[in-house]
Symmetry: C2
Subunit: 370 residues, 2 copies
């Protein structure tokens, strides 16, 4: 292989595919970035088996076609530090690779890449089209709720559902549920798949927030593929049946209240200060006629603060894990939010009237606090 391209284009490409390089792996080949030069295209690929990313280098010339796998960390360190000039990359038959840029010359040892897993994208059906910005939003607004505990594989995934012209994403971890619905421009056949939440957050880093940039999505029985200009991301679906989360959603409530979102976040944060991490002390929320009182309490001291609210229905006293409450509130863009409560043992719902979002936060016991 003998190629050249600009340092800027190569760096961009390396940065994109690096999102799929696994931190830990038992397959040494996955620690590499695969470089392919064929048919006039220089393509970089990385994979962690759950997510594979392919990126076409935006400029570049191929003098001799070929393929080589280079250690991802080393290669990206080298590319990042090269002068802003043309990079010349050449491999010999033993995959010894020279990288030349201005007066800097690197010699590194590559691999054949024969055992690099193929991404095998299957794009049989018509793609679902949406803006990258919408996809970015819906991922950000739900993916924080997936479990990071591998013990329950299904909880590390999130539901992605297409129904007519609606896309829905759902994530839950046993303590909370995050549901978002967005409208698509066109209607599509029904799809209901489970994607690994961690890989979705990696994809999110690559998506653009420009409202004009589109993404094409292909869904098969084993893959979800995201196609954007120069980049293709292939996610392996999680097999199985997703939780019947809908049975957790109830519309009866005893208390409905409206509160300023930003003020509530700041108050919860202040109430949490006294609690050392891992202490698992709840913030206690007492709701009376026109105010919400927040209380935090620990060995080092106590805090309380009240916020103005507009309330309908019964008074309430309920305890929350402050992290879960704040993360849900942060995922919402509205200035005022509405909370629905049933009692101290039942989940709290934060949802808007059109139900384009519904955040469910389970309460925690606070008997020991007061």
């Amino acid at each position: 292989m003998k190629i050249s391209c600009s340092q800027a284009a190569l760096l961009e490409s390396v940065n994109v595919v690096s999102k799929a390089v696994p931190v830990k792996t038992t397959m040494p080949i996955l620690e590499c970035i695969l470089l392919k030069a064929f048919n006039g295209q220089i393509i970089l690929t990385a994979s962690n088996m759950d997510l594979g990313i392919e990126n076409i280098v935006r400029d570049g010339e191929i003098e001799e076609e070929g393929i080589v796998a280079l250690d991802a960390k080393l290669f990206s360190d080298v590319v990042r530090n090269l002068p802003k000039s043309t990079v010349y990359l050449e491999t010999d038959e033993l995959y010894h690779t020279t990288i030349r840029c201005d007066k800097a010359l690197y010699k590194v040892i590559g691999k054949s890449g024969q055992d690099f897993p193929a991404l095998d994208p299957v794009k049989i059906s018509d793609p679902i089209e949406m803006t990258q910005a919408s996809l970015k939003d819906i991922i950000r607004q739900t993916s924080f709720s997936v479990s990071d505990n591998d013990a329950n594989k299904m909880m590390t995934g999130m539901l992605a559902q297409i129904h007519g012209n609606m896309m829905k994403m759902v994530a839950l971890d046993g303590h909370r549920i995050s549901i978002r619905v967005i409208e698509l421009k066109d209607s599509y056949p029904d799809y209901k798949v489970i994607v690994p939440g961690k890989q979705m957050t990696e994809i999110n880093k690559i998506l653009s927030s420009e409202t004009d940039d589109m993404v094409q999505i292909y869904i098969t029985s084993s893959q979800m593929i995201f196609d954007i200009e120069y980049t293709m991301m292939v996610i392996r679906l999680i097999d199985g049946e997703y939780f019947n989360y809908e049975q957790m959603i109830r519309n009866e409530f005893n208390t409905k209240l409206t509160v300023n979102r930003r003020e509530l976040i700041e108050s919860v944060n202040r109430a949490t200060l006294l609690v050392k991490e891992g202490d698992k002390k709840p913030v206690i929320v007492s709701i009376t006629d026109d105010q919400m009182e927040l209380m935090g309490n620990s060995a080092v001291g106590s805090m309380n603060e009240s916020l103005p609210i507009v309330k309908e229905g019964a008074d309430q006293m309920i305890g929350f894990n402050p992290k879960f409450l704040v993360e849900a509130l942060r995922a919402i863009d509205d200035e005022e939010i509405t909370m629905y409560l049933y009692d101290a043992k039942s989940p709290c719902f934060i949802r808007n009237d059109t139900e384009t979002y519904n955040y469910v936060v389970l309460p925690v016991n606070f008997n020991n606090v007061r």
Copy 2:
């Protein structure tokens, strides 16, 4: 004690004195910030025994004089998160403290602060006056060379010397020496003291880089005191005789060369990429007529690059610890720097003609590399 002040002023004060709060200590009282309200001044104090900092809160009213010691981490977390409004702080006779700001109310447990070590500043002589910006520069340009290994206490210190209208600072760690000299506006009696380098970098964070802001420095047999508006920093001197570093400085050389500083830093960084941290592989510098060739080498590959230089004298081949070379180069502001070499076993000097700076970097053996 019963006081009030703006959240902004209190936060600024907390941030300043926090620089002296020790990360680890066997004296629990040092984990506190001491609040004193006397004679119309609210003063915050923190100390780690080597460095004590006192700061006067810029605004505030005292309704009842008093004193209390509050856990530094908790107190600064609370103050940082309070609304931008007036803070009311009150203690009872058991040092239970209430902090109120808008509708937020904290109750925390304080201490009497009786066992908090007094800073005891002694300001007997006339102060040395200079701009904070100059002091900031001279600390930054030398302190990186102190040893972080407590085994040799003297190496964790740095020499601060006043002679006539000159201030000199010297730091060394057995592998390198950094020397800086600046001119003061006035002349002063001679001083030669050793200050803890780590504490000097904390002081540096508090100093302003505005060229109009002055600092008054007082030196006694046991303390160096830095006085700036609202803030006093007291450093405990290290006892003993500093190294006879001057015998290491030689002016003979076989090779003198001039090179672009920025380009050299970038080249050394590129040569270092292949080396994993802790590997201790040197960068090898080969100097011939009009070029400097840098070489890096490790199990994963090799790198070389050449830079244009202007040279007088013999060719050289010398190995350096890249970190020591780069840190010295970063501490210099000149675009072009001049290096003086004797041979592969002798220190390299990077100095300017007026010798306001002199960076000495010891070479490392590289027999095993080529």
